[in-house]
């Protein structure tokens, strides 16, 4: 049975997911300009959100700023890997 904290985190995640999934997808897609990559990255971003939600501190940043930072880092990593894997 889920304890109170786990339940609260799950509900918080569902709320964040519902509020941000389209925004995050659009952000990722319009940076990568590739649909498949955008879908994969969006999934990875929300997995990271879920894994780090317990450490999110609303006094330090809004949810929007927090999740944007996660998304931005994920896309930057993807772009960097793509750049270094491109044969010159």
């Amino acid at each position: 049975m889920e304890n109170k904290n786990a339940l609260a985190l799950r509900m918080q995640f569902e709320e964040i997911y519902s509020d941000y999934v389209h925004k995050i997808y659009n952000y990722v897609y319009l940076r990568t300009l590739q649909r498949e990559s955008a879908e994969n990255l969006t999934s990875a971003i929300f997995i990271e959100v879920l894994q780090n939600l317990h450490s999110y501190d609303s006094k330090k940043a809004t949810v929007g700023k927090w999740i944007s930072t996660i998304a931005r880092n994920a896309v930057n990593d993807y772009v960097a890997k793509k750049l270094f894997s491109t044969k010159i």
Binding site: K23, Y27, L30, R31, L33, K65, S68, R72
Partner: protein
Amino acid sequence: MKDEISEPYEKLYKILIKLADDERDFLELRYSLELKNQEIADILGMNVESVDNRYLQLLEKCRNIVEGNVKKISVEREQIILNRNAESFKNYLADKKIEVFEIEELEDEQKTTIFRSQIIVAGQQLPTLVILDKSVFALIRVQIASQVLSDENRFALLDFINEENFNYKPFKFYFNQSGTLFLDLCMPVEGNVSGDMIYLMFNVIINYLEGGYKKIMKKIWQ
């Protein structure tokens, strides 16, 4: 798989594909993620005024793309890129009221800007440069000792420098053609140079030289 683009997004796609990744990043933080200017400034390590200015520059660029004014765009892009790293560090120095650098802007292809100063180690003033250009790297260069490599000490010094390079990963030593010993620290910069990061790297260099400088000079004069 070829990406399919729905009709309303086709025009947007045609604009965005002509922007650099960091430019798309900036616009999408605002439009897709609906962040406020202060939040964008925090994430990108800029001040709000710079965010406003960059936003206006990018809107103008998008307008030019729509109008097909490609030449103007490339000039504008060149100006944005060339100014960003150096301008960012200049702003940092101004904000912190740091006045120890002489600034020289070169007219080369990379639009290099050199910030000249010196660090003092063991009572010696070592000429120090911060070199910023259009590339994604910032370079800190310290002149350790001038024209010290000779036929007599060449083998011993190169061996010693190779060992130092092996032991200290953040920076590298080398001799130029006239036998002057330099220390170079190269760091990637993402979009805008972080002045704090450059100063942190200065501390790394100074901490090393506090102990290492005498060791190097001893080896040179042996």
